[in-house]
Structure formats: C-alpha cells, structure tokens
Symmetry: C2
Subunit: 405 residues, 2 copies
C-alpha cells in the first residue's frame, strides 16, 4: 500500500528535451521498461550518484564520462528490471555496448550517452533488447514523452512521480520538469532511486551543479525508508538553454529557480516516501534549534532510521521514550535538558522530561493520521532541517521476507 493519493503533476514539456519509452521485456512483461531522454543544444548537466562502494556499472560509467564533460548534446538511456550491479567487467562491457547502440541510433558520440539501470542486482544485463528497440525508441522521441518516461523507470513503485513548475520572468518563461522512482529497496534485489530533471533555462555548468546539489541536499538526501542505500542511485539535471532565459549567479532569477527546483525535488522525494511499499505513514520531521545542518542531520537520520521508533509510528503509539532514545544515540552533542518535542500541536517533551500538560490521547490522535509533522527542538542554535520518513510495518517484513520474484 501507499500513503494517501498520488501527488503528481501533468508534466510540462521542456524546450530542447525529447523523450520516449518502450516495453523491451528486459525483465518485466507488458510494461514500459526502457526509456530514452535526449537533450539537444549547448546543454549543461549536473548529476549526483550513490556513495555505495558497490556502485553499479552504469554509475561507474557515468562518473567517468562526466569528468570534465563539455556542454552539448546529451542522451540518457534508462532501463528498469536489471540493475547491472555486482556484474564485474562483463557488466561494464554491457553498459558500454548499450550506450554505443543508443549513440548510433541518435547520431551522437558514445561518450554523450549516459546509462542508468535499476532492478535486480547481480544478473547480467542483456544487450539484445537494446539492439532491438533503440531504433523505434529514437524514432519515437517527442517533447510530450515525460509521462511514458516516468513510467518506464518504475520497479515496485505503485505510481509514477512527476513534478513540474513554470516561472515567468521579464526575459521570458522557465520550465522545470522532473520524474523519479521509488526510494526503498522494497523487493528482493531491487535497486533504488532515480531522478531525471530538465529545464529550458541556460545555466552555466558550475552554477547548475550548485543548484542541483542544493536542491538534492534538501530533498532526496532528506528521506529514509529503511536507511539502506542502493548501488544505483542517481539524480540528474539538464539545462538546455532552449527557452532563451539565462540564469546569472546571484540574480532574482537564480533565487526563483533555486526555489522552484527545491520544490520540485522535495515533492518527488516526499512522493517516494508516501509510495514506499509497506508504508502506512509518511512523517515530516523538523529538527530545529540545531547548531548547524550537520547536527540536525545526525538527529534527523537517527530518528528516521530507528527501527524501534519506526515501529511505534506504524502502531500510532506515542512512545516518546523511544524518540528520546533515538535522539540521544544520534551522536549529536546537545544538552538533553533543553530538548523540546512536539507532535503537530501536541507538546510531548519539554526541558528533557515529559511535557507538564502532555496528553497521550492527543498524541495518539496525531499519530493515527497517515501524514503528520514531528518537531524536535535541540535548544542549542538556529539551524533547522526537514526530513521525511516512512514507518516499519508488517507489510515491509512481508514484502521483503515472503516475496520472491
């Protein structure tokens, strides 16, 4: 199951970007599982990848290709069903071959095609489906392909995730559209989050990377399903410049675009948590009163990843002792006697002990909601960070223990 109704925008086309998807039967049957995104022009590109040492072959190839890459045409080649991870030299070779096939179909040099895979770890990626489908795929590219593309990257997600914003400036309009797939390794061998974003603004490479990293820091890097990190995580932002608006560093346009990008990424990140299989609750966690972002992050992740507290969230049990335990074990340095905790508008802990007017019934009522906000104030500074996390449910165990593909 998933939390609430899907939150997904109709994707706005992005000038300079065309997309297509096909059912290539790489692993799944009768669904889109192979996609191509093509960005033409003096495009800049920013990307972040998993920190997992067992990074998959496509991640390793992307990293190599993106060292010192010049602006220009880019193609992103994405498959679901097979992660091409822990596949050794033959996996690297398969990633290279699929990119060469795509490059030939598009008339691009192979080093302008970036590969992405998600799915089963440790199985050889078959190259034949790519050879068979890249022709029709490249012929089918169109600016309205975002919807299909958002579907072809899914694994165990129950719904596609699309976010789109349009900004109007004096110099013209800027569009940002992004798609993503789920953040939990929810099913045996599945490997996890992918996000692809495009904008038609013209943005210099260094500034684009900064915009991308800042937006990732407050969104995809602020969610937790189970604390595990896949071998294939990747998030990519392309700026085509085809819309005609140039974003100068420090300009009002820069600030507005940073805000829109942050919103788009945060919407997708939250959707990943809401659509985590097994999830019955999506909790927004604000850690405030921190010395700095790093301290807030230590506390935020300790809470978001605590199996004991996540199980309490599942049970709608306002077990604040477990919450205090998780905060206390985070490794963050703070004075426990200054800590304040609120569940929405219900004060739970004040000055390190239970709040004087604490109502367990009121706290239980908050936790019974599918979505709510917890606030932890560390009482030692002005920094604040926001996180989203899901609960640890019977379904999480059932899906991960009982289900085998």
């Amino acid at each position: 199951m998933a939390v609430g109704a899907a939150i997904s925008d109709p994707p706005l086309p992005v000038a300079g970007i065309s997309l297509a998807a096909v059912a290539a039967e790489i692993r799944y049957r009768d669904r889109l599982d192979l996609g191509l995104l093509c960005a033409r022009g003096p495009c800049t590109l920013a990307a972040t990848f998993t920190q997992n040492r067992f990074a998959a072959a496509p991640v390793r190839r992307c990293r190599e290709l993106l060292i010192d890459a010049a602006p220009g045409d880019w193609a992103l080649l994405v498959n679901a069903g097979n992660a091409n991870a822990a596949t050794g030299p033959s996996g690297a070779s398969a990633a290279l071959q699929t990119c060469r096939i795509a490059a030939a179909a598009l008339g691009l040099p192979p080093e302008r095609v970036l590969p992405f895979s998600t799915g089963v770890i440790g199985e050889a990626l078959p190259v034949e489906p790519f050879a068979e489908h890249l022709g029709p795929l490249s012929a089918g590219l169109g600016e309205h392909g975002w919807e299909d593309f958002s579907r072809c990257i899914l694994t165990t997600d129950t719904r596609p995730k699309v976010a789109s914003r349009r900004l109007e400036f004096g110099a013209g309009a800027v569009t940002v559209t992004a798609v993503a797939k789920g953040a939990a390794m929810m099913q045996p061998d599945m490997a996890t989050m992918l996000a692809f974003a495009g904008t038609d603004a013209r943005i210099e490479q260094r500034l684009l990377l900064r915009l991308h990293r800042e937006a990732v820091a407050g969104s995809f890097n602020r969610i937790s399903i189970d604390g595990d990190t896949s071998t294939n995580d990747a998030a990519v932002l392309i700026a085509t410049g085809a819309g005609g608006v140039e974003i100068a560093e420090g300009s009002p346009e820069h600030s507005a675009l940073a805000g829109a990008l942050g919103e788009v990424y945060a919407q997708l990140a939250r959707e990943m948590v809401r659509d985590a299989e097994g999830a019955e609750h999506c909790v927004t966690l604000i850690v405030q009163g921190g010395r700095d972002a790093a301290q807030c992050a230590l506390v935020g992740y300790a809470v978001a990843n605590s199996p004991l507290f996540k199980t309490a969230v599942f049970a709608a049990d306002p077990n604040w002792g477990r919450l205090a335990m998780a905060i206390g074990r985070s490794g963050a340095d703070f004075d426990p006697d200054q800590v304040r905790i609120d569940f929405e508008d219900v004060p739970v802990m004040l000055g390190g002990v239970v709040a004087p007017d604490y109502s367990e019934a009121a706290a239980t009522a908050v936790m019974a909601r599918p979505e709510y906000t917890l606030r932890i104030d560390l009482g030692c500074g002005a920094a604040a960070e926001r996180f989203w996390f899901s609960d640890l449910s019977h379904d999480y165990i059932r899906i991960n223990a009982d289900y085998r593909t």
Copy 2:
C-alpha cells in the same frame, strides 16, 4: 521466541561478593525485580556506560561517583521495571535517595553504592519499595545469590544469562562470574542491557579497566538487535582480591584472565542475541581481510543493522545483492572487486561478483539453520572482527507495534 536452547552456566561463587534479590513490585508482580550486589574488601571496579545523550539518572550518578574512586567496598543496587530515564531532577533525586537507603542498610557511605535501573522510560521511580525491601535484602546477602540476582535484572528476556569460569594458577585459583540482561529494546519503553561481573583476583584499577574495556569491545560492543542504543546500558566488573591471586600486567595470569573474561562476556553477548525477542536466527558475522578493526566494524555494523538484509536472514533468503549493498554503503573504503563472501562453507561472492560455482540451494540450506556463520573478506588487510546479530522478523514488529504494557 528465542534461538535454540539457553546457554547458561551454574554460577560459581566469587570470594568477597555476596548478592540477594527480592520481589519489590516496582512494576512487575510476583517476580524478583530488585537486587543488591555487595563487594567487600579493597575492591577495584571498572565500568562502561551507554553513549546515549539521554543517559538515565542512575547512569549519570554512576559516572559522577566513579571519577577518581578509591578501591574499597562497593554495592550495586539494581532494579527492573523502571529505567529512571528522562525523569529530570526528580529522577536524579530518586537515584540518590535509593542509594542512601541501601548505604544505611549496609553501613556504607552513600557514595559507595552505584545505582542501575532498567525498564520503562519517562516514569518516576518510586522510592518506597526500596525503603521497604532494603533491610531484608541486605540481611539476605549470600555468595550463592548470583542465580536470583541474574533473574531480578530481566525485563523481556525469556531466560537468565550467567557465565562462569575458573582458572587454576600456581598461586591459586581465580573465578570469574557474570550475569547480563537482554540487548534489545524489544518491548515498548524498555531500556536495555546490563551486565555485572565479579572476580576474586586482585587487579590494580588501571589494569582492571583495560581488561574490562578489551573484553567489552569484543563482546557487548559487537552485537546488534536493531541498532538502537538504550539510555541505561551499563557493564561493570569488580575485582575483590579475596581469592589471593594477584594479576600482574603482562604476566601469563593476565593473559589467561583476559581470555576467560573475553569468553564470559562473549557468551553473555551471544546469549543476548539468541534471546532477542522476535529472533529466529542468530548469525555470527566475521569481517576479515580488513585494514584495521575500525574498518571491519563499519562493515560489520552496516550488515548487522541493515533492515533489508536482516529481513532476508529472517526469510532464509540468500539475497547476496542486499549483503553487497549493505557492505558498500558502510562508509568503509575498499575495492569491491576484491570482496569475497561465504555463508559457512558455501562461496557466494568472489572478486566482487557471484561465485562461479554458487549454489543458491546450498546457501538457502545454511540460512535455514537457526545459527550460522557469515564471512566477509574485504581483501585489503589482515584485521578481523566478529559480530553477532539477530534477524528482523514479523515478531519483532508485532512485539514492538501491537504490544502495549
């Protein structure tokens, strides 16, 4: 449920140490829940405590009292059912009062009584049961009280945990006896591990601390139920010197005692994992071929705490992709192409890819056993560390979500 049959030794008395336990009804009914351990003579004492910032009132008091404490008489006062954690100044006052009551009953200065509590977080510790029972408790002290004492400290453990060893030297015999309670915060609000050990050897304070810390490092600090750390964890070792054997640093006796202490602690640590409620498997994890102990520990804990891999252990599913994922996300620096993984005698991964003769049936057969050994070789050095962890089961969720006291 628990894994396998209980492993518990008949406790050997330790000269200089007497113990007793009573049913004081602090929270539980009709069971031992209050204990006293009294060590008389020029006793040295070593202790380690939780690193949780929300350390409970008794932990805070112990820390204060143990700064620069001289050898001499010691009493340990332990209750189950109430953790006296997140209780603020009134909790500190309750800890102090209970120690004063015990000190008066024993004719000791209050600063020679160390308090320990385990149980519900955030509730006031009632002082009355201590006032009522300390007289009979001190009157009942005896050297055969280890068995009762091992029972009075339990919370959701299904069985007591006692380990005992006797060493014969030319100068005489040395006995080590220790008791412990469970390491999982397995039930709402429960706070966790306690261990109390005594020996009749005479050991200088600094050497005792070294012996204790080294034994803790390879035992209580090498287990994981759920990765959460309680507010009340404590492990204490007392050396009474009453047996007449003196342990000199660097002597054969030192080495033999270090070995015995390591065995005693490791036996108790493993029993905690085997008795973790909800546990159906107890896995011994060897991380070898590491650069140093710290690198092995990063990998060991990443695996032992991975919800995805722990769920695979529960399901007896040889999902080595998840294992690789957990190793890779540990933060340890290594070459994935050098990694080797074995499940008992079944090679699973070699050189970073699936082993050429890998048999899923054989790996599944290993994982179907209640207890087995996983071996990860990082291929970058000679360091090795051993860990024990339990699985993530339906019962873990049920116990922590559905059960409320």
